[in-house]
Symmetry: C2
Subunit: 590 residues, 2 copies
Amino acid sequence: MLFSGFARRITSRTKTPTLRYQPHLHPAYSTRAEYKNKMSTGFEAERARITELAEAIKQLKTDGKPCDVELKEMLDLKKKVGQSTGKKDSGKGKIQLKTPKGTLDHGPSATLLRKQIFNTLENIFLKHGASTIDTPVFELKDILAGKYGEDSKLIYDLQDQGGELCSLRYDLTVPFARYLAMNSQPSMKRYHIGKVYRRDQPVMSKGRMREFYQCDFDIAGAYDAMVPDAEVLYIACEALTALDIGEFTIKLNHRKILDGIFELAGVPADKTRAISSAVDKLDKAPWTEVRKEMTVDKGLDGVIADEIGEYVGLKGKGWEVLEKLKSDDKLTAVKSAKEGLADMELLFGYLDVMGVLDKMSFDMSLARGLDYYTGIIYEAIHQSSAPPGFKTQPAVPAEASSSAPAPSKPKKAGEEDEVDESTVGVGSIAAGGRYDELVGMFSEAAGGKKGAGKVPCVGISVGVERVYSILLQKRKEREEREARGKETEVYIVSMGGNGLLKERMALAKDLWDGGIKAEFMYKNKPKPNAQLDACDRDQTPFTVILGPSEVETGTAKVRRQLGKEGGTTEGETVQRSELVEFLKRKLAEL
Amino acid sequence: MLFSGFARRITSRTKTPTLRYQPHLHPAYSTRAEYKNKMSTGFEAERARITELAEAIKQLKTDGKPCDVELKEMLDLKKKVGQSTGKKDSGKGKIQLKTPKGTLDHGPSATLLRKQIFNTLENIFLKHGASTIDTPVFELKDILAGKYGEDSKLIYDLQDQGGELCSLRYDLTVPFARYLAMNSQPSMKRYHIGKVYRRDQPVMSKGRMREFYQCDFDIAGAYDAMVPDAEVLYIACEALTALDIGEFTIKLNHRKILDGIFELAGVPADKTRAISSAVDKLDKAPWTEVRKEMTVDKGLDGVIADEIGEYVGLKGKGWEVLEKLKSDDKLTAVKSAKEGLADMELLFGYLDVMGVLDKMSFDMSLARGLDYYTGIIYEAIHQSSAPPGFKTQPAVPAEASSSAPAPSKPKKAGEEDEVDESTVGVGSIAAGGRYDELVGMFSEAAGGKKGAGKVPCVGISVGVERVYSILLQKRKEREEREARGKETEVYIVSMGGNGLLKERMALAKDLWDGGIKAEFMYKNKPKPNAQLDACDRDQTPFTVILGPSEVETGTAKVRRQLGKEGGTTEGETVQRSELVEFLKRKLAEL
């Protein structure tokens, strides 16, 4: 629907301005009726008068007579009524002109910059044979239930208005897994750019929002070990390079190796998750702090902690760290560790062939999403956000070292095992890993045979909002003029004459039909300066000037606009018949 | 976040599989605690065993040992527990793998076709100097309140989880007006393509969905009469022509003229809305039926109805209908009618200059959104949905006639004064009009000075879903192969050798770096036919074939794929060093 119901709005307000039932604010009234009944008292006179006025105004309008006086009285009355009830309702008599907490309007130039980011990423995904899907912005509550652990409290639920219980999507991965399971699709290379929703504490200044974009690329399907994984990491490098955000490093680790280390050290199974989430803090906190968390907070035996410490500080160039671990007989004796190391050896070989191995840092302290991922995990770190002492160029220390990174502020709650696209200032600008069981779990939960619906997946999510703020910052540093937000190429200006409206219209039509982006002022007799100002404001590159003489001689004067300061060029007189081609040539030269 | 919390999901399910509290389903238990308490009884043994198994499985995994048996037992137990409680919960033991009622997943080819529609429209809007904005998918409840009259019941509300009350947007117009008022923006040419939400009764077969796209273009600002209005109508013609959906006609009318007619006929002010909504049915029902609704259902004096009937059957070419009305002294004696006719005269003059007047039909029976619009209103009708006897080519009957259109099924409820983008089969494929007061009302409701925040607007909304189904239909009729949904240009195939995985990877990297869309099979030793089938399935135009001899001689064989039936061309052997350029040339020739 376009714009119906406006006058109805007046009417409804007129009839029952005080009766909006807001149970959350009126625990006292358990039913709408009860509330109405209570609220209807008072202001009868005002409401009656408002109804009167509404009728009168309608009549006056019908008669085409002015009704300002009546309208004003009605509006004042409605404010009075609205106000006093408004106080009861929400502490405000007026409606608030704002977007909901944690959400923003993206204006033209912000939208343009985001679109550029999306196009860059999209072109790369397409280059790799990906297709895209578009899933609903809300899912059945059960689909999301239990997927996000303690973060589930951040999920937006839709009100139960009868029918199904739904929630706004929290990410794009669970809907993707649901899609694959629902369609029994055994394999797919897909990307999805869309908004997701989290009732998190917004930090506008940091770009942490409740509504924000995610950009996911995933490869689903049963393939040979580490082959799709290698392509996903190649794509990550390709994407972050194409986005031109500056230096980055991709931290790599393997869930099975971490499992092996914990087993070797003797971490009790029931402590694995707690300990790994402690390990994950090593990129933000020094070992001593993390060790304290393990032993004091989480009651791990100090000896075990120290054994872990020997490993998790280890990071560096892929081959070097790998050799170091492979030569560790204690570790390689653990089956899962051995398997993980074999995977990494394969992966590094592939990344070598693809020429992106030097962007990787094999980092034993990376533990994100441990209980979720089933294979490799990775996190791309942007130079601007790497903690002090964390080198991003060269990608890794000259040789494998086991020095713990320098201290820095600890992560916020709820960020333990994720890159939150809404968070700026945390290291990750992209993250992901292999998750081989999510799709199968959907199939089984829906009653499918165990294992039948299993679809192994590996994927990555680019932190769009993070990339956006980095690019915005770069733009500011370069003192670039804000993006135009519109693409008008030609502004048609009338000088003298009688405004020449129809001549400008006819000219605009010619340009539009010729595929040229053109505007003119919607006035019969616009002032020359008003037109030129609009042209400067929008940074429109060319003006076509029409005056009586041009009309008479079937010509038009074309000027290159050089902006407020730069002024314009002399201008050339062009035959109307040749104008479109002339302008196309000029525009091509820009 | 990418994919955290999966194992946590098991855990949480394990610990409390039966305790999801669903108040709407358990009126009996007024508190979560009470419910928990009740529900916890029974299945203790099973739940205990499930916890045991979960631990065991974790340990087995840590040890890298198989745990299928344990996993199966656990899943079976969870189904058992889940099931019996599930019955209590929602009548189902398994989760449903589906999207919420009235929503759809758009697969790759559907998404591609929609993107083509959006690009076509976007390019046209940009050509006219429009910029785009991106507003949140939900707004404060108060912003939407009272804007949609009785249709407000179709608004999705977010659950009150503490904090503000929000609703999913119902259209893109109210958010736009809110945006203008909030930013005190006096003028803007904007387009917005986005999803909107209506808890309507979905009719999948007709494409009436609860989540669907809208594509709006609006010009806001105080300008000279009918100038932006003319451009919006020009854009409507440009857009519908560019979309290549076939013949269409744009029905035009003016609110003030209708007001004048009602006044002239003597319709009581309080009946205006009811009567105009009856008039609006004339494109679906014969006059006799509409007259009956006016007189019998709505108690209008038969004489008045007949007087209205004399006018509202009138439609035809702009100038002809206009002359007819202008020569009607009774009508022109009514101020508002006179004003409306003056507007139409101006408009037709402008549309004439822009060369689109012949697409218009001045139709006195068009009354949509009467109480909302303040000026011209219009509705674009596609040939496929015009009621029988309604000619679309030529745009209008040879001469102005007052013949009422042939009967046809009456509109569904809630469609009185809107084009519902989610509805297929109803005439409109685009609709809009002038609405000069919505923005001002926001400013005033927010406490601004009367009239201070007034921003006149005129706009149009294209029925994207309607256009989509028309194009899909055309595609089917042309028996076109479904759109690929992916754009892969080259598939790298290995023949013989040892699978040549790394050679294929290296080749892929070269092609990607060269900007060529390329894929290869993620297998060490893929079968030649498996690779060629994938290539045919995706309609990939070229294969690059690598065999031991090619690798040895530093060459590759390029083949044009002609699909399953067509087979392939002979194939040319190309030097690896020249491959990228060679393929680029070949692709350019496609």
